[in-house]
Assembly symmetry: D2
Homo-oligomer: 361 residues x 4
């Protein structure tokens, strides 16, 4: 248990550093017989990759995916699915300024103290490039969920103080990818883009909120007591770099209402199979178990720690230094984080879908 | 993996329903040689138990703890520590009104659909009484952490809209238990108590926010990539009944600042061993690994779903019914949730402390 | 991972020492809806308990089982099934002779060195009394397997040099419990009983071999590469006290044959669903996966280490001492080990049955 | 839990099929700071590879190892160590004879039934080529053990009926690799080689026994109750293809002795730290925990199932067919299995070494 595996039955184990041979992983437990749509997976990678627009980092990476095992004649075989995206364009750069120095609000200091050694080139293991493996595995999880008609869709809800105030069911989520910031409301999207452009000019960065919505979940996913579906989703999201908060359903806003105002009243159906709730403050999960209503949650991303400004810091002797970032970085990570959020959510749902097969005799 | 175990090396597995024989658990992996202070553990249970004040439920439960194994002559032996708190006062009540009916925003519907059967008496496994096992195990984890000088302290920061606006380092957390609402600021505490009294009169319920602070954590706890310390803490908190949100460090407020404003600048020390950060927006964790600064996070609890008012709902045939709660319930769960939050945090810290022993050769 | 849990989806965690409060466990992951036949479970405990015949230890223990959770109106609910058998007849004995002294071929020395402390009363955690929890959980696993028509039957195949030479399919295994040594061939059973009586008179002990046969396993159980069904069964058996060897199918005898002699030829069927093999040297498992043929394996138990004779040993200072056993012990553990072997095999099969539900889409 | 991971803290997850892109794995949990001696690792692969002598298969495979992550400037960094050995010489062979047909005593039938699909080319995932990943990871585990002076040495003890009757402590294990059959006694080795040559001429195969000896284990490794060190070793060995039996210490021979004859008498020392036992029938493990004496065990390998003779079998419709093997196969797998056995033993020891760090406060 050294932190590089995720899931129980549908399990992903990842590897790789930003300037090593590549980023990859192994999915162990993907059921046999799943059609592996490689075009779809590559298209998910394209949503994550740098250089996709002028408001993301301008680094160019091709992110060519190679599957190494577990797929035969286009279908999963039940054996481990391994994959790698090679790191390219590895010029013999000079990273010596990072070797002994610790960037503020990065993982340099903590990795060095924990392990006594670190691959300091480009952030090493703590680089956001690690999420490539999450997106590949998440795409396969999405293919599995698709077989059950379950959808996982995320979008940018807030950038800095610019916020989309609509509820997810008032939005057309198919429009999320129609603009470069991945906000399904074009007017708000325009404001967000302008704001990011402004922040970028300042050599600064900005954070925001992504909302994720899961529809058509069967009733009964989630393992109480400790592996409630909401807890698993929270764990998945909080494991993404730069995430500072997670809330589900009514979230932190729940403090502003009384129980009588917040309870989700059940509406009758022709059978128990088609009851629903009048409101959905529970966020589709009650007692840690999905109730069939849409599951939705918000994730707060802090501004990227790497800024284009001089900052005071320390080196590995504890001495004061001044740092200045080099290279090309994201002024706002949220547009590229959308597929990562979806991927982690899909991994959770795929795992709990398989776990739920043991509920009953 | 059916959700009733927590942790990897310091692992708790729990059992019990609110109206079965009792609530208990097994701790597997507590290192040998720990002095088990039973008075302390019982005092932690007292902080959780119902009937402790007029703003909690008036049910009386004695919660007498029995250890069943793993302790010899007052010390842990390295073998499993099992324990049970027997359920008492089990009058042959009539619970038939719950048998076929589903209370709004409870787990009745989802348990029934997941398992096809449920112990409907008093909430069964989904009852908050389940947290007894967490508090017992958490108390033992606290004893382990105490050996390393690590403290875990939670307090009520907000009830409804009444909020304590101070930062944790401006507060004297030793005063948390000096009032019945467990808020370390007596003035705010008074307001909170009045508010809960008012809500109770209305037959309604109210939620709020608990903050938890962990001090003296060694640098290096947390297992990137997927088991970041913040993710594990979030998972632990979101697994508590009624929790709707979790945020660490700057939390959701991070969206209101630019990177240049939010980065935690390292302050030099005489050696790398005593550097610190000027601000602590990271919440004591960077790259998923503790950096030695205080770890602090907020947890949002929704209002208790059981209210003393009539509510529309459905039965297990999907037909409309009207429900009315019986018995004595908490108008606000937060004062009693403080030791539960601390317990879950302590379990996480104990586990990651042991895991960190494998970091280096 | 401190060694007191067994299984992944159908998971048992146990606790208890021979002279503590009792022995018990928690089964997490038993599917909901299983009828829990308590008479059957208690009858399985009776097969394990001491004092059942003149060739076992004469200690009397009642082994009264109490279920603590997870069962409602006679059926499993999907929540953890906890149980305890209280230790009785705990006279304030004098165990001081064991406190500082290490019995040969027992776990006294290793527990003390590993943990720095041990409950020395009657063997503590290393006592064979710990197997009570295995038998209770194994009985529930058997009830689950019974729903799928899968049977698990063990019998004593050898005691000392007295050996039953027949193949399991030449035996009527329903006769196993018709004699006190649990050998289904009455003539051999008589010889075994006489031999144990003779050994007992000498104040000595004797080992032997148990064979276990699992019938009606569905094809497809077992998780290659590392969790082959045979490996899981071996692991289960080697975790029983006093076991020194495990072999499946042709076992160690495989060295005496050539490939052409040992291969199991497939016999045609009307469809692939009813093919079988001419021989069954594979022991019902090929490539780590059950093939539908009977699964059978042998387990070697060494003679019980506690003998009624003086033995040289050391104390916890490393000094030479002389030890003499007190109390009443088993001259041969095999008759009582039969239900333990069956229980561990049933736990493995139940777990892999649930795991196999994720094989395909 | 789909069977492709091994270990808890020092954890290996593997992937790959014999005719896919390659064979590889990820080691998660290797402590930071270990010097990764790539020459040693490659030399271990050379001990496993085909074509190394005239008594192994004549296939030529180069087995060039590439590390993909987790190593920086020659040392482990604490992050996942991923690696791959590419499959070479993949001529577009005709494997259609295996597509619909099931070889006797292979995994063809069971894989197809379990998953509904299989990569039939050269055995796919069930190919012995999978063990490459075990050997790479095992070599790294050996490097870790070497830091603690722990050695793991295996040798061929028996081929067919030709048996080395000496105890391991009468042998010079440094001579194991001095002959092609890997038996440290040259005379017996010569007989074994002649026997394999004879078997090969017959187009047949032969099995045998490997013994493995672990020296200098610290006292205290092993996690009772269910994860006894002997059980973990047994599990590791039984997960190797073609293994039919495992015995430790006195093993199956224990049935031939009385307790008084088999008990290992402790010999006094100047302190408890240097006591030893007169005999070592326990095989270095008591109560599931290492006692500091040499750990030794035997593993029985059946003859390779692929023979150069016609065999009757069935196809995937259940119809009778006749099969004839093509290609070049091992007449006896034991010489090449020696490094595999050592590797699995080393993985177990490395994992339990790390686990033991949590024994005490």
């Amino acid at each position: 248990m050294a932190g590089n595996s995720f899931g129980t039955l549908f399990k992903l184990t990842t590897f790789g550093e930003s300037h090593g041979a590549g980023i990859g992983g192994i999915i162990d437990g993907c059921p046999a017989g799943l059609k592996i749509d490689q075009d779809f997976i590559q298209s998910e990678l394209a949503r994550r990759k740098p250089g996709q627009s002028h408001i993301t980092t301008q680094r160019k990476e091709d992110d060519t995916l190679e599957f190494l095992s577990g797929i035969f004649e286009g279908f999963s075989t039940g054996t481990p699915i391994a994959f790698i995206v090679r790191n390219e364009d590895q010029k013999p750069k000079d990273y010596s300024h990072l070797k002994d120095n610790y960037r503020p609000s990065h993982a340099d200091f903590t990795y060095d103290q924990k392990y006594g050694i670190r691959d300091y080139r480009g952030g090493g293991r703590s680089s956001a490039r690690e999420t490539i493996a999450r997106v590949v595995a998440g795409a396969i999880a999405k293919l599995l969920l698709k077989e059950k008609n379950i959808t996982v869709e995320a979008f940018v809800k807030q950038v800095g103080k610019i916020k989309l105030h609509k509820n997810h069911n008032e939005l057309d989520l198919s429009k999320t990818d129609s603009n470069i910031v991945r906000c399904p409301d074009q007017n708000i999207a325009n404001d967000m883009i302008s704001h990011i452009e402004e922040i970028k000019k300042q050599g600064d960065t900005v954070g925001g909120i992504i909302q994720c919505v899961i529809k058509n979940s069967p009733v009964g996913l989630g393992e109480p007591v400790f592996d409630k579906l909401n807890a698993a989703l929270g764990n998945a999201m909080l494991g993404i770099n730069a995430v500072k908060g997670f809330e589900i359903g009514s979230g932190f806003d729940c403090v502003n209402y009384k129980g009588s105002e917040l309870n989700d009243i059940f509406l009758p159906g022709t059978s128990i199979g088609n009851v629903s709730t009048q409101t959905n403050n529970s966020g589709g999960i009650q007692g840690g178990i999905s109730n069939g209503m849409p599951i939705y949650f918000n994730i707060a991303f802090k501004p990227v720690a790497t800024i284009m400004q001089k900052q005071q810091s320390v080196n590995n002797k504890g001495e004061e230094i001044t740092l200045e970032a080099k290279g090309r970085h994201d002024p706002c990570v949220l547009p590229r984080a959308v597929p990562i959020v979806e991927s982690m959510a899909a991994l959770v749902m795929a795992d709990f879908l398989l776990l739920s097969r043991s509920n009953k005799l």
